[in-house]
Symmetry: C2
């Protein structure tokens, strides 16, 4: 079952050449979820061959431009490219006002519905629960109302051991019951225990997206034991004062978040334009938490994959 994230943008407020503002695409069982949508996201999707038509859910963390300025363009292009199925959009309430104002003046009437869900930056909410994933907001601590997003894979049904089912001639009508854990009684009356006929599915995994935020333990409990934690790391720790002033995190602190919340792996991103090379940021985070990688454009990480 696929559960992986592809990075479309790694830069903070001002882009630099080859680093775009924040956007990520999460693939859960071949359904795509877009997380943040900085300016140029649709161009990045073209570059990395990610089809906008496969995205049905877009999550916007907050209303700083580097996290959402690509949204109107993307939503317009979806319209111009013939989209009719609805799009679910999750973000701070004023996002809808901003979209509506821009469409008012461009006289755009979309051919599809945007189903908007306003997020609340004060307490965690479950904002999506479908067959593949449960998504919760993570209230973060930034200069304006900001939430991260916690993606918990759903536990899949048990897998039937095909050879055994065939050998016993189990009727296919019984398969859904087997997958749900029921035993099987053969026509001759013999009872087969479920665990003889099926194996457990993979343990569901969890992806935590935390950007933008100052280091603050209040969200630590919620993101405990993430298989993959994405955390912003805008500055090196020698710029802690600047990080505190702007409500951002240092690479050392991002490593600390991963360590203290029991994350299995850490991705860092949202790098300040001042860092032409990212090596120092990576080294600093790895000094605290070795299983760390840079969330750079075009790279894809499987949730749960060992990055150490």
């Amino acid at each position: 079952m696929k559960f992986e994230v592809t990075i479309l943008g790694s830069s903070s407020a001002t882009p630099i050449f080859n680093r775009n503002p924040t956007a990520q695409v999460l693939n859960v069982n071949e359904r795509l979820y877009l997380i943040d949508c900085g300016e140029g996201t649709q161009q990045q999707m073209l570059r990395f061959e990610i089809k906008a038509s496969r995205i049905d859910h877009i999550f916007i963390s907050h209303l700083h431009g580097d996290h959402y300025l690509g949204l109107i363009g993307l939503v317009s292009s979806m319209h111009l490219n013939g989209r009719v199925k609805p799009l679910k959009l999750y973000g701070p309430a004023p996002l809808l006002e901003i979209i509506n104002l821009q469409f008012k003046y461009s006289e755009t009437v979309l051919n599809y519905n945007i189903e908007f869900v306003a997020t609340d930056a004060l307490q965690p909410q479950i904002i999506l629960d479908n067959q593949d994933v449960v998504v919760e907001t993570i209230p973060l601590d930034h200069r304006i109302a900001t939430t991260g997003f916690l993606f918990r894979q759903k536990k899949r049904l048990r897998k039937i051991i095909k050879e055994k089912a065939e050998a016993l001639n189990i009727p296919v009508e019984h398969f859904p019951l087997l997958k749900r854990g029921e035993d099987y009684r053969a026509p001759d009356g013999k009872l087969y225990r479920n665990h003889e006929l099926t194996v457990d599915s993979d343990q569901p995994k969890c992806y935590a997206y935390c950007s933008d935020t100052i280091y603050n333990e209040r969200y630590f409990e919620q993101i405990q034991n993430a298989d993959l934690l994405y955390h912003e790391a805008t500055f090196l720790h020698n710029m802690l004062d600047r990080a505190n002033k702007t409500f951002h995190t240092t690479a050392w602190q991002a490593g600390q978040v991963a360590l203290q919340t029991g994350a299995k792996n850490l991705l860092i991103g949202h790098f300040s334009a001042r860092y032409k090379s990212l090596t120092d940021l990576l080294d600093e985070a790895r000094g605290v938490f070795p299983s760390t990688e840079l969330a750079i454009e075009g790279s894809t990480f499987e949730v749960g994959e060992d990055l150490a």
Copy 2:
């Protein structure tokens, strides 16, 4: 005296890989003027090494996203990069409302002033008149209020023939008068006619920017004899119905505009994403008006340069 345009984006509504939405930078005597600002313009400026700090005037033709969605990001980056000098912004009145709404929710207070000039799509206006250039709006005919922009270079002062001025020992205080066309009387009483001591400066040139618009003769008189005409050419002429329906121009029609207005040279742009190759569009326009080029990303054209 430099008068040249660099293309940052050539695509119409939906971008395709390697073609960005509309934006152009005009360099007039080393001052930069940005015309339209589609999504990703600031990234294109990084790519083509155009410094945002050198731009003091931005012109927005209309409020379709492919012509202005890069503006908020650019204006924010100017702020974050320490700009303090004012920025003049010209465009439809609601543009200011859109900017203000977005800055309200991002809680952005710029360190510099945006001096906004609302354009009127009903009649031509002179919106800028400085030492280098006069800029007029061109009312176009599109689905929403849209203006093009006509940049007329100012006539420069006459140039002093250095050798003659030195031979006659003309005092430097007299130079400004010579440049303005006055004669010179030497201490011995001899009169030197101005044309003996100076040469005329280059004839001022004119750049006309026409996007987006349906083919409509009402703006032809205003753009007569442009040294360089940029005209949108969204479709091939076999899609004339679509062009009419969407208030766009075909490549054949763009050639006709150049021909009928006596343009010296033509640039076509704003290409529909359906054209992976632009050769047919270029050939079609050249069939009508040979001195035509494609306005593709990264190319620079001197206004008045012969494109034939």
